[in-house]
Amino acid sequence: MDLTRREMIKLSAASFAAAALNMSLPRNSSADEEIVVDKWVKGTCRFCGTGCGIYAGVRNGQLVGIRGNPKAATNFGFLCVKGFKGYMSMYHPDRLKYPMIRSEDDKFHRVSWDDALSKVTNKFKELHQKFGKDSVAFYGSGQCMTEESYTFNKLWKGGLRSNMVEGNPRLCMASAVGGYITTFGADEPAGSYADIEKAKTLFIVGSNMAECHPILFRRVARHKLQDPDNVNIIVCEPRLTPTARIADIWLPADPGTDLAVFHCMARELIKNNWTDSWYIENLCRFSTGAKVVDFNAYKQFLEQFTPEAVEKITRCPGANIKEAARLFGSQCPTMSLWTMGLNQRTRGVWANNLMHNLHLISGNICKEGADSFSITGQPNACGGVRETGSLCQLLPGTRAITDAAARADVEKSWKIPAGSIDPKPGFHTMEMFAKLGAEDDTSKPLKAMLVSTTNPAQSLPNAPKYYKGMKDAFLVVLDIFPTRTTQLADVILPAAFIYEKGGVYGCSERRSQLTQKCVEPPGEAKADLWIAAQIAKRMGLEKLIPWNGDDAPTSYKMAWDDYRECVKLTEHTLFGITYDRLTQMEEGLQWPCPNDKSPGTSRRYVRGHDPLMNMPDIVKVPSSALIYFYGDKQHEGKANVFLRPYKGPEEPPDKDYPFFLTTGRVIEQWHSGTMTMRVPEIARSKPNAYIEINPSDAKEYGIKEGDMVKISSRRGFNIMPARIVKNSLPGILFVPWFDQTWDRMINRVTIDAFDEGSKQPEFKICAVKIERVGDPKDVADMYIISDVNTPFPLKI
């Protein structure tokens, strides 16, 4: 690179950064041209739920760079390492490029699309005939585009008349959905990311935002550091994560015990009069879940949660809880943010309810800077799965499938006969995999499954329990790389990466953003929507799913318009979010957005902000109401403040298994590592999983840094290197879950107990024991499954 060119690249790069601050540089007139691309195409990052806006640089038909979109309301131009680098995996030579069928030699062989699709649909038809409409399931992902999830959901529920539709958001977000619906009567947060910069206190719970949502964390950290004396951060999290390090108050409660912490905070709020009597009188309904009670009963119920009593249950210092409550209730507005630490629990819905309680009784919701905000993990868990209703109990618009009026509305929209949609929910994820199996196994009603854009053989808790079912059933996998799941499949359908097809993602703040197609998929890989529509066509359902053409942008737009129409008269209306508007707008749009004049909604339930407050054809709101929770099933505009009893985790440590194990993500890797482990810099910086151990525990077990440690639960074991760190409390171990190496696949160890309400499993907590098994060993092998015919490591 000669000096001139290098200087020009520096100027160009600096001018992009300046744009993020709405500044221009003095000498940058021709600098943009120096980063040589044919075009910059607008889109979103696909590596977490923050929804960062990007521009993808295309040259000679290839993607050659990503830059942040300075006008995106989510990230203002900034990106993290996954955002910059993750896309490079799309050019990895392991990409699945051709349809493949497993033959009698137990090996995959390349076939034509026609053969692969015929094989899939003939088998589905045969199974439907033999075992009924509910014998074939769809298992999707919070990484599918909205149009794809909607289409598969429509195909199954409207076309095949089966509610056997699930997706991996069941594993990450279902408790948040359950929490919002039971408290407010409607899913998803009231506020927006913009509340972060308006909040005086931020309460971060069960979320290592610094690693899992780095750009959102950046907003939090900048806000704090700009005004450190007046912005307060409380972090409730058992590990001293990078997120907890910026906290004023850290609440290190043992995993699964924080229900007691939240009740204790509520008790403190009330005792110290840090409550809002108008909210309590007008917007709160106190409920045990079984019956409505009054505020006094709630006060009495909370009496058991004194700071001293709660400290005993949780190991969290009572003084910290009291101070956290003081900041929460007196240094307002307060915004809470949480992710999997709250959701992936057997009491996930209750934990969500108790967070909402704090906001409702202190009046910290539906105001600037005040919100009870669940951050989604995947880029399109909200937009694609929750909002399109692609779970077994839902319909588009997050409506209950048991609701006769909702079914009738959807049937009308889909132009299918009244009564077509089965009112009975299908199986939830864990039940689905438990009931998947061979045709001759009468205990397994599910005989086939189409898995799209996810890797359940690695991501299910207690995964080995479900391998036989996956292997015995007819398993079709639609993905871009070989995974543990493709190793168990019968048919592999090669799919397109986000920038090879385009489509809409909806992030945590109800914001829909359109990614435009940038480049062609490799080999014979196809847009996922095309695959869905071709299956529909071969199943005789072309009329229901007519968007089966070869031009991806046209098909995705048709699917989006069908979806817009379907949810037009719901609380989730995004009828005004058209492709045209999304193409023109840099920042996308937030629903509710009922028509093409609507600017979208940054704050729901508030007159003057939420257009639905004046739309009686969608929800009825008294004209005098300024704030009204219109999802309330009692039609009183109130939210439920729940008196949920304390209950700890399903499997607390005991004398045989004395440690808590908690699992999670790290900043570099995405989910099961199938994409990010294929980007060399990322792979090198986090090449393998490890076990984080507190120094005192390490000493007691004679474990030194790097020693190989066996970690076992009642279900299975892993062997991996030890990392001795002070940020895990004594008695708590942490293992990241991205590693696909058999010895280090931590979901062989985790528990598959799930929340009774949301059916979300308790990934975050189980009891384990550890033992030193050897000296340090180099396991930085950056393992990936490269060949579809690599045999599965376990004999099934």
Binding site: M1, R6, I9, K10, L11, S12, A13, A14, S15, F16, A17, A18, A19, A20, L21, M23, L25, P26, I35, R59, N60, Q62, V64, G65, R67, G68, P70, G77, F78, L79, V81, F84, K85, M88, Y91, H92, P93, R218, A221, R222, L225, Q226, R678, P680, E681, A683, R684, S685, M782
Partner: protein, 96 residues
């Protein structure tokens, strides 16, 4: 070679001190700063992404007035050349 377009955010009133201290980092080029002085537009240059991360950490450690270094663009010149020349296998040889 990696070249970023980044924003360095500094504590209120510390922009002059930070500019001064940044002189000891030849890998950083300052282009402009916002009216408030709290945001500075810079390039950071490093041999690879790893080095970039550790360099940014070192800058933050050495200059406590810096609140944050955020990247808006990273030019991965070599990687783009590898994409263009089609030498994927070499690029993706994780052990090379």
């Amino acid at each position: 070679m990696v070249i970023t377009g980044s924003v360095i955010m500094v504590m209120p009133g510390s922009d002059v001190v930070v500019e001064e201290k940044l002189r000891s980092f030849p890998q950083v080029t300052c282009h402009a700063k916002s009216n408030s002085g709290m945001d500075m537009i810079v390039n950071v240059e490093a041999d690879n992404h790893h080095e970039l991360e550790s360099l940014c950490q070192k800058i933050k450690d050495d200059i406590p007035e810096i609140i944050d270094i955020g990247h808006v663009y990273i030019n991965f010149e070599e990687e783009i050349q590898k994409i263009e020349s089609g030498t994927w296998q070499n690029y993706y040889n994780l052990n090379d």
